[in-house]
């Protein structure tokens, strides 16, 4: 067993791969351009984090120290420069990112920075003042509650139910987004029109014995029912 195992020659395998990088094209004055970058960062912090960035210096004429300063300034802003483009090779030192050539244009898919989680929208609307003639309150996200009266010539449109603690003299339209379970409640009914999910009754169709009484309206199948509340 004198044969010694020959150590296997590890082959260096080189592969090519292309990535999409952001290309920064600084313009003079550099200070002003950096302010623009800062403004972008203020709007969406973390926008450039982890993204490869290439500096295209063809639009400016910078000295070696200026290039070094620019790279350092970007690094201070957490922007790491992957390579430099558009300058003479002599200007790039070994401590700087390497010189790149042969870049091709491509369309960058800008992913929107994640917004801080939006508060869930309120699903009810409370109106403390009377709704006057000519006013129209439209709230399709849910219920509408009115503490005062709804005047003749005013209208309330709600995605959910409508509650009126004064007199309803105008129009009330509930469940407009196709919600047949929505209802209309009021302390005193003198409505011009009541509608739930597209089914409606005008003042003429509303039973006169209901007038001036607390009432509710709801849908039973295709029929709108209006009954006194007490």
């Amino acid at each position: 067993m004198g044969a010694r195992a020959e150590p296997k020659r590890q082959q260096v395998r080189l592969r090519g791969r292309s990535y999409v990088a952001f290309v920064f094209c600084p313009v003079v004055p550099i200070v002003g351009w950096l302010e623009e970058i800062d403004a972008t960062l203020a709007r969406s912090p973390g926008f450039f984090v982890g993204k490869p960035v290439v500096l295209d210096l063809s639009a400016v004429d910078l000295s070696q120290s200026a290039i070094a300063h620019l790279v350092a300034s970007l690094e201070n802003r957490n922007i790491r420069v992957l390579g430099i483009e558009g300058v003479e090779a002599a200007l790039v030192t070994t401590s700087m990112p390497p010189l790149l050539t042969g870049g091709r244009h491509c369309v960058v898919q800008q992913s929107k920075p994640e917004k801080p989680e939006a508060k869930p929208k309120p699903t009810s609307l409370l109106l403390e003042n009377p709704v006057r003639s000519g006013q129209s309150v439209i709230f399709t996200e849910g219920d509408v509650t009115v503490l005062g009266s709804v005047s003749s010539g005013a209208e309330i449109v709600a995605g959910g139910s409508i509650h009126i603690y004064g007199t309803l003299r105008g129009r009330a339209m509930a469940g407009v987004n196709g919600n047949p379970a929505a209802r209309i409640y009021c302390q005193k009914i003198e409505a011009e029109l009541l509608a739930i999910d597209g089914y409606y009754q005008t003042a003429e169709q509303i039973d006169v014995t209901l007038r001036n009484r607390p009432a509710q309206a709801w849908l039973e199948g295709d029929i709108m029912k209006i009954t006194p509340l007490n």
């Binding site: 006057r132 003639s133 000519g134 006013q135 009266s149 005047s151 010539g153 007199t167």
Partner: protein, 271 residues
């Protein structure tokens, strides 16, 4: 502190101009320095009711456009030395009014007067919105009729949304003035009751002015009713309303039908 008061209604013919003149004169009689401003450009009437129609040289539009100075356009009343009129133009229309122009005139008037009473045109268009634009307080003139009440309601909605005060998140102080209250028809139950009106408008009451020949008579001779016949029922109702505007507490009188001698002799019911 100067107060800008707009007299408005939405509906026409309810008594805005009569009320402007009567309230203006009543305030001036109690020593306040008052200017009444006619915003009804193209259909001016306030000058007639004030009896100043023959003395109009310059008007509101001239001042807005810088043709005349405010002092040239102001007309002093012949009867009350602290009552002034700023007339409207009869030859122009409401488009000649601009927001900035009206704003600067109101600002200048604020430095000179205690009360600036703006007589609004009927409707809800430019003239009416500009008349109420800079108001601190509003008198909503309403007749006891459903059409008038609904229009008043619309105007109250606009006072709460379209005025400078409303846009700053403040409130224009609103008062309802019921005019042309017909005691005979009220007795027969043919009119909306005061309670109904106030329930619908949800706004405090400033006064109730009875329908009266005295109002017509005063207009015809070009005199605010409060000056023409201060003892008449409408004049006293306006004077009380003016005192309430100044912050006094005055008991509210609901006009009732008086039986005439003949009615009583014949045993007729008030009708």
């Amino acid at each position: 502190m100067a107060k800008v008061l707009v007299v408005t209604s939405g509906k026409g013919g309810v008594g805005k101009t009569t009320s402007t003149a009567a309230l203006g004169a009543a305030l001036a009689q109690s020593g306040e320095k008052v200017v009444v401003v006619d915003f009804d450009v193209g259909l001016r009437n306030l000058d007639l009711v004030m009896g100043a129609e023959r003395r109009v040289v310059f008007d509101l539009i001239n001042v807005v456009q810088g043709v005349a100075k405010l002092s040239q356009a102001l007309i002093r009343d012949k009867r009350l030395e602290n009552l002034w009129l700023l007339p409207a133009s009869q030859t122009r229309d409401k488009d000649a009014l601009t927001d900035e122009g009206v704003g600067s005139i109101i600002a200048e008037l604020r430095t000179k007067f205690d009360w600036i009473i703006c007589d609004s045109p009927a409707g809800i268009e430019r003239g009416a919105t500009l008349a109420m634009r800079y108001a601190d307080e509003a008198v909503i003139v309403t007749n006891p009729e459903v059409s008038s009440v609904r229009d008043s309601d619309r105007i109250i909605g606009m006072l709460d949304s379209k005025t400078v005060k409303a846009e700053k998140g403040e409130q224009v102080k609103k008062h309802v003035l019921i005019t042309r209250y017909d005691t005979a028809r009220a007795a027969r139950g043919e009119m909306l009751t005061i309670e109904d009106i106030l329930e619908i408008l949800a706004t405090p009451l400033l006064g109730i002015i009875p329908e009266s020949q005295d109002v017509l008579r005063a207009s015809n001779v070009g005199s605010p009713v409060t000056l023409n016949n201060a003892a008449s029922t409408p004049a006293r109702a306006y004077t009380d309303a003016a005192r309430r505007l100044m912050g006094e507490t005055v008991a509210m009188l609901v006009p009732t039908a008086r039986k005439g001698l003949m009615d009583r002799l014949l045993g007729r019911r008030a009708a």
